[in-house]
Structures are given as C-alpha cells and as structure tokens.
C-alpha cells in the first residue's frame, strides 16, 4: 500500500544557538500526515519550542537553521521568502502559542483579532467575516459567541482565552496546526474541555497537527504518534500504543515511569529491560550509518549505551 504523503516532513534539521558551538536541535527527522496528531514530548529545555519556531520560520534573533530541510506539502519552507511565508502562516500553517491570554493583544476585541487573520488570507465581505468568526467561536465551545466576539482578552477566563487562540489558529482551515503547551496554564477540567474541542475541530478539518507537551496523559489520549526530544535530539519516534507499551530509550522510559508513578503508588513502570538490552546488542551488531534502530512495527529508537 502506498504511504500517504506527509503534510510536514523534517529531514536532518539542525538549529544552532547564538553562541558558537551551541546546537539547539541536532539532525531531527520527523513526518506528520493529514488527520494525524503527532506529540513532541520532552522536559523543559529539550528543544520542543525551538522545533516549532523553526517550522514556522520565526526563530529568535541569532538562532538559525544550519542544516536539513522543512518540507511542507513537498516544498522546502527554508527556501521560501518572508513574503511567501507570511502568506502561508495563519492560513495553511498555524500555531497556538503557549500562555493563553498573554498571546492575545489586550487592546483589541477577540473578534477583531480573529478578523485580522481572516483578512490577511481570505477575501470576504463583512457579514461573511462575522459569520465565520461567530461560527468559529461556537465550534470551540464559547457560549454566547455574538457577545463574546466583542469582549477584550481581560474579560475572558484563561480557558476562554485559550479557546480564542484555537479559533484564531483554525479559522483558515490550515493543513498543519502546531500547538505549544496549549493547556499548561489551565485547570484540569478546563484543559480537558479545550483539548477535546481542539481535537474535534482538527478531526473535522482533517488537518495534521503537532502537539508540544510535557503531559503524557494528554498524549496517550489524543495523539497518534510520539516523538521524544531530549537535549535537542530525536530519541524515539513511535506509534502511541507501542510507545507506552515499551518506551525504550532510557530518557523515554524515565519519562513514562515518572508519569505513572505520579499517578499512583503501586504502578510498575512499563519498562521492558530485555528490549533495551537486545537493542543494544542489535546496535553493536549493525553499526549502520543511521543512528536509529527499529524495535517494533514503526517504533524507532536512537541508539544509546546501555550502561
């Protein structure tokens, strides 16, 4: 069976930091297809946000891509001009920033802020814009959307502000949505509602999506594939069931067992030591050019020393 063409495909992406010799992302390869939700997990400082910013082409000053490619629908974003990128961003390629209300402009109503996105990419008359805005607010679960469209960010709760960001990112039906810790500031009941709403919207539009998070529970419940970043490297890339059944890289194992221990007293970490050992043997047996080993169907792990 012919594999579906990915929406986003990173190949050997390397990003260097401001000081000479600092590498923020090293040789990252990843792909995500339409309708698929990819989780990028890792602790703070692992390079998750840099990855997202590199894809969006909005890296901070002095941080730059030094190698690899970022193919979006088959075209390399790294070769596009700023004007071309601006046309893509917000329409075909969207990002939800972490921080909820802080990511909104406090001086404009939320309806206006969604309208700016529409006007940058679509040509609609005002009534059609209004309809689209209210429809979006409705579909992300904002009660009384006609009135809320005229609210300023400070009049909204954190959960509402986060929903506005989802509406804003999804209004032009992007092919790819990147969400950076969309729930880290929210209470659990609200976070669950926001994620459920975002997931429904993404499924309806068939967009590809990347969720950057530290919350493995949200990953298990929503995502199709998991990529583990640690120290700027891709350590493991796996289907979600396989990842949780046998996290294999020591860093992934520690993360999964921390999440399980956090949840209950008696949970045994799902860490099949034998696989790690076998894998280490496999890696010494075949020192191929690539640094990854296949441990189960579709489940790739970066080689490591099983010390």
């Amino acid at each position: 069976m012919e594999a579906t063409r990915p929406v986003l495909e990173l190949s050997h992406l390397t990003v260097a930091g401001p000081r000479p010799g600092t590498v923020l992302l090293h040789d990252i390869s990843l792909a995500v297809c339409a309708g698929e939700m990819l989780a990028v997990v890792g602790e703070s400082g692992s390079g998750k946000s840099i990855l997202a910013l590199a894809v969006m082409g909005v890296l901070p000053d002095l941080v730059r891509v030094t190698g690899g490619s970022v193919l979006f629908l088959g075209e390399d974003l790294l070769r596009k001009s700023e004007a071309e990128l601006r046309r893509l961003r917000g329409s075909q390629l969207s990002m939800i920033l972490t921080g909820g209300r802080a990511a909104l402009n406090p001086m404009e109503t939320v309806g206006t802020q969604i309208r700016y996105v529409i006007r940058s990419h679509l040509t609609l008359d005002k009534d059609a814009e209004d309809q689209l805005i209210i429809g979006m607010l409705n579909s992300v679960g904002i009660p009384d959307p006609e009135r809320r469209a005229h609210a300023y960010p400070h009049e909204l709760s954190g959960g509402m502000a986060q929903r506005i960001l989802v509406a804003q990112a999804m209004v032009c039906e992007p092919h790819l949505l990147i969400a950076d810790e969309p729930t880290s500031d929210l209470d659990v009941t609200v976070a669950a509602q926001v994620v459920d709403g975002m997931k429904t919207l993404i499924d309806e539009r068939g967009s590809a999506s990347i969720l950057l998070t530290r919350d493995l529970g949200i990953v298990a419940e929503n995502c199709d594939t998991v990529a583990v970043l640690g120290g700027g490297e891709l350590l493991e890339f796996a289907p979600v069931e396989s990842f949780f059944a046998q996290p294999t890289h020591p860093y992934s194992k520690a993360m999964v067992s921390d999440a399980l221990i956090a949840l209950e007293h008696d949970a045994a970490p799902a860490a099949p030591a034998s696989i790690a050992r076998e894998m280490a043997e496999a890696s010494t047996a075949e020192s191929a050019a690539s640094g990854y080993v296949l441990v189960a169907e579709g489940h790739y792990v970066k080689r490591f020393d099983d010390a």
């Binding site: 929503n222 949840l263 191929a288 990854y292």
Partner: protein, 369 residues
C-alpha cells in the same frame, strides 16, 4: 491520633474597594489534621485553597470561625505569643525564586529563621545550616550562591531547609512542586515524605495537581468555590469519588495509557465568580445532576460507608440516593469517547526510514539470546 490542627467553620471574606461587594474566598470550611499526617487540599484556581492555607497559619485573619493549633485558639493569641507559635508552623511557596530575597545568599536565607527563633551563636547557626542543607540533599557548595544561580529543584530544597530549620510541627506546602519537571518533582516529593517520616511533621499540601496530591497525602479534601465538597482517605476517594465534582475532576486527568478510553463527567462552563455567592451548592450552576433544592440550600455532609467513616461528601442528590444507586447515577452522567486507531501507512512514521536513510532492523529471531 492527636489533632495538631483543627479548623472550624472558617470563613474568609475580602471587601472589595469602592463597592459594597464582598468576595468570599473561603466559605465555612472545617477539618482536622493529625500529627505526622498529610492532608491534600485540591482545587482549581479560584477555589480558595491558598487563602485557606494562609488562614490556617494566621497569615490572614479569618472573618469567622476558628483555628486551633496544638489545642490553642490562634485568634486569641497575642502578637508575641503568636510569634513564638510561628516557629512551629512554616510555609513553602510555589516559586521560591520569588519568595527569596534575591540579594541574600542561600546560607543567609536558611539561617534567617534560626536568628529569630533560636539563641544559637553565629558559628552554631552556620553548622546548623550545613546540616540542614545535607538533610534536604542540597549541595553545600551552593550555600554561598544567590537564589537566581540555583536550578528550580535546588531552590525548592533550600526553601524546605528553611522551613524545617525551626523544627516545625506543621508546614503548609502551597503548590511546592507545580513549577518543576516530573523527574525533579518526584525527588522533591520523596524528600518531603522522608522528612515527614523522620521528623513527624504534618503537612497541608495545597495543589491543583491531582497526581502529586495522590502520591503524598493520607487524606484529601476537594475544594470548589471556597468550600470542601468531599473529604476522605486518598486511595479510596481517588478510586471511587462520590461527589460529582470530585468525579469530574478525577476523570479529567488523562492517563498515560492509550488503551484506556477517555471518560468524562462534563461540567459545562467554568468556576463562577466568588463575588456575591449565590445560596445553595457552589456547583449548582455546572452540575449535571442538579436539582432545584441544590440552588436553594447548602448541601448536607453525607457520610460514605457508615456513620464511623471519616469520608464524606456534601451533596443534595447524593443524600437522597442510596449507595449503589448513586454510583449508577454518576456513571449515567458520564460521556465516553471512542478510541480511534490509524493504520501505519497513514502516519508520518511510514516515512521515517526514507528520511533518516537506512535503519538497523531489529527483528525477532535475528539476535538470539
């Protein structure tokens, strides 16, 4: 078990400036805390848990109700008596980076309470600080540095060292691990558990993070809009929450297990404003099981599992429905989401080998032994 702390019908209100409105942060809370026990206080933002913690230490004066610490009514103590008591009651905040004086060294920060509460000489104090640092696993080489030079986990260790310096009986821990990565969080929790075992300290552990509270607490109180809606032994309550709010809260936590289906007890909307509280149950505006009585009268405390039980929930419909039928009603209100499975060809993984070049295949039977 001796009750170290007894909080009775505690109310804390704040008058809002330039209006006649009142914000009720804590609305009639009662509980006891035993010696060497941890009570987890769980609630979402705005539930009043931090205000409750501060009132328990008399860092805020309660509007009504009483706090008894070691049998004494704290409100009746004079300023100097209260000051003596403070050595026995400490607090650790979420962001020690902000709670510390940035110009002081870590040594000075840990030493400070010893200056106030002991008559140790400077030399003795420094020896004591050294011991405290070792006790909490803080590298003594860091004592000469300033808070900003420490990673978050080490700062929290310093805050704990400062808190135990005066040999307290009670420590209020206000979201002490919320800002930390999971691996660091686990080590700090292990430290707290170890200190409690060795020093018989009681903890009031305030957090919005249900999994952290589960790990450390003997009993847990679920707060919402200034009230405790359910209080009971941690393990049992987590396994079988009785109040609709507790149930909704616990079902919202996603499990790191993709084979479990997503179950929810939906609570539409968000926590209401604590200004001019309506009468009745605080959850009435969002509860899927709401009845008319819920909007009018405050809910009664219903014992779970017999009259002698130390587990209760405050809920009208629950009071009217016997045990097994109540569980069925709760489950009826739940929603389920189907687990969707994708085939491998439609996922990005199918392209990985092409992207990285060749991959070493590890297949069964290939490497025996």
């Amino acid at each position: 078990m001796l009750d170290l702390l007894r909080v009775v019908d505690l109310v804390k209100q704040f008058d809002l400036p330039r209006t006649s409105k009142v914000l009720t942060a804590v609305n009639g809370v009662s509980f006891e805390l035993g010696e060497g026990e941890t009570l987890g206080i769980v609630g979402e933002s705005g539930s009043g848990k931090t205000t409750l913690g501060r009132c328990a230490l008399r860092l805020l004066e309660p509007t009504a109700g009483a706090v008894h610490f070691l049998g004494k009514d704290l409100a009746a103590l004079s300023h100097s008596e209260m000051r003596q008591q403070r050595a026995k009651m400490q607090i650790v905040y979420q962001n020690p980076g902000e709670a510390f004086d940035p110009t002081m060294t870590i040594r000075g920060i840990i030493e400070d309470p010893l200056k106030f509460h002991t008559s140790l000489s400077r030399k003795e104090r420094h020896a004591e600080v050294q011991q405290l640092a070792e006790r909490v696993g803080l590298d003594v080489a860091l004592l000469g540095t300033r808070p900003r030079d420490l990673p978050a986990g080490a700062r929290q260790r310093a805050a704990i060292a400062r808190a135990i310096a005066t040999r307290p009986k009670l420590i209020v821990l206000d979201e002490p691990t919320s800002a930390l990565d999971l691996s660091v969080r686990r080590r700090i929790l292990d430290l707290l558990i170890e200190l409690q075992r060795d020093l018989a300290i009681s903890y009031m552990f305030i957090s919005h993070d249900l999994s952290t509270v589960r790990k450390i607490s003997h009993r847990v109180a679920i707060m919402y809009l200034g009230e405790i809606l359910e209080l009971g032994p941690t393990q049992e309550l987590y396994e079988s929450p009785q109040h609709p709010y507790s149930r909704a809260l616990l079902l919202s936590v996603s499990r790191p297990d993709p084979t479990s289906e997503a179950r929810r007890l939906p609570l539409p909307g968000e926590i209401p404003s604590p200004i001019d509280l309506p009468p009745g149950c605080p959850l009435a505006s969002r509860c899927p099981l709401v009845e008319s009585v819920c909007r009018e009268e405050r809910p009664p405390q219903v014992k779970v599992g017999g009259a002698e039980s130390d587990w209760w929930a405050a809920c009208h419909p629950m009071a009217a429905t016997p045990g097994a039928a109540w569980r069925a009603r709760l489950e009826e209100a739940e929603t389920h989401r189907e687990v969707r499975r994708r085939d491998r060809e439609s996922m990005g993984l199918a392209h990985f080998e092409r992207l990285v070049g060749s991959t070493a295949h590890h297949e069964e039977g290939e490497h025996d032994g």
